[in-house]
Symmetry: C2
Subunit: 343 residues, 2 copies
Amino acid sequence: MAAITIKDIAKMCGVGVTTVSRAINNHPDINEKTKARIMKVIKENHYIPNNSARNLKRSNSKTIAVLIKGITNPFFNKSIKIFEKEIKDKKYSFILQRVEEKQDEIEVAIELAKEKRLRGIVFLGGAFSHSKEKLQQLTVPFVLSTMRMTQEFDLSDYSSVSVDDFRESYKIVDYLCSLGHEKIAIITAPMSDVSIGKLRYEGYKRALESHGLKVDDALVRIMKEGIESYSMENGYLVTKELLEFNEEFTAIYAVSDSMAIGACKAIFEAGKRIPEDYSVAGFDGLDISFYYQPSITTIRQPVEEMAEETIKILFDLINEKETYSHKIFSGELLIRDSTKALN
Amino acid sequence: MAAITIKDIAKMCGVGVTTVSRAINNHPDINEKTKARIMKVIKENHYIPNNSARNLKRSNSKTIAVLIKGITNPFFNKSIKIFEKEIKDKKYSFILQRVEEKQDEIEVAIELAKEKRLRGIVFLGGAFSHSKEKLQQLTVPFVLSTMRMTQEFDLSDYSSVSVDDFRESYKIVDYLCSLGHEKIAIITAPMSDVSIGKLRYEGYKRALESHGLKVDDALVRIMKEGIESYSMENGYLVTKELLEFNEEFTAIYAVSDSMAIGACKAIFEAGKRIPEDYSVAGFDGLDISFYYQPSITTIRQPVEEMAEETIKILFDLINEKETYSHKIFSGELLIRDSTKALN
DNA sequence: TTGTAGGCGTTATCAA
DNA sequence: TTGATAACGCCTACAA
């Protein structure tokens, strides 16, 4: 196909490549007429500049990448839209880069930063247990959105926007307790999970304790490996098992809305009602938690505000107004139809 | 930061750049020992090759891109996973590229093909009304997944994998009719939509006609602009309006499962029951249509098989075993709890 | 098995 | 306002 290059265009127009380059990139020092002529030829010949060459040469690029682990997670949908809007508003361009489950997001980030000459990075999702050393390789400003690093990192090592998963989890379990529930099952992440799964579980534990209740190991259910984590299917299978074991409980708390919905399905299939027989609570505040029947009691994370704040912090970093910043948002307990007081 | 380059590594190792390049790219003609030594230095210095430079120089790359319009559409989730798996199995690398709503996917494809030296492209989602001329610019093999081109294109111009939206839509509406429903509302795309929205509407029309029923314009509801198309929210708002208008109907068919769920919510909020008061049917076969209460009667598109076939065709194209190919899959009518016979 | 040198397509520098 | 020309970082003939 012999792709057409800037040289070809220059030749066709009888000008130098520099002039063509100027036309393409809206440089000031160029005669409007020659520019128009060049643009016309470019259009006619469907010339498209080669991005690799551009990135190679360019030092600055005004682009920001959002790295996202688990792109199919509906929780990220709204965030993505806001990131895009906010970044475009600032006249930067926006790249959405998927990170595979097993991939190391920092490595991907470093590589992409080089390739695309990034100005900033947002990390969305993922566990984020990395070596300090590797993190130092990443010389581009970045913000963790809806998560934080593990303990070993100093707060001054990074920036983040998140909710306090421990506290919010405590909040909703506390609410269940206040309804009179004493046997509250939980569907949570494996104990090896050091991030949100662990924090939400700790919140559950503490809430029970503060109501003088003991954690019953038989009611602590771990999501299945090999099945998408935090998914409806996972919640469904775990709850089904729980019901089959005939453990006694009156409420079930799933650490994600998706799992809560799976739990509901399992309960319905067992011929039981919600909330009459079992109360069900979730976490996240997905749209579907409202549309589901019954609507699901949950903790809503203020995704929109969080996404906006993420970008705000990122640009403060870029413009060197700050060196790091951590913002913690409050979740909102949405009391809906899937929970009721124990009579 | 003065990023480290292949030359630096070469110097540090006391070898030429060629040797380093060979080490990186697993070339055969290199002494194992020197290779090990080089790799060690690379590790220690955290050297990462610059992708832009690589892409610029390379002519072949063994990478395939999946372009997706509406990345937040849950319908695509499974397809993406399968694309990734199949492509990796063939030792190609996989790029997922989001296309913005207003962007022209062909243009994005052409540009990306240049930048990344793509071997093949999959288009997922989007409307696909383009000029022939532009399409010819795209010299890389491509397949449309879950959609087809508009009439003006010859079948020999492209390849595709899809269901027959008209026929499947007919199937489910025919089923509703066979249950005795005569007043069946539909929530569909604006008539300006020339792709699946139109086809599914045509199927609805034909099914009614074949049962001797007339299309009642008052029951043909168009999804709202400005709100995400085919979404739960859209189905919810449209149905709410429909109910407020007090139009008489006994069943409602939404051309996507998400809209069907929104419709259910509106019906429940109006204090009505499903399927006793209204039957509800969807389209797509999303997971949530199973988990919803009641489970939603729908047409399941065989996403997995379709995704596999997409890749199969794409590789046949790449290996020049074919010049074009169109595969049409049959949908499956899933009869569930959201529909019942009219007594 | 290794190294030298040229070129991929673009942008930036500098002189005209 | 323009145009040669030198990078950008890498790969690959070709030569050694």
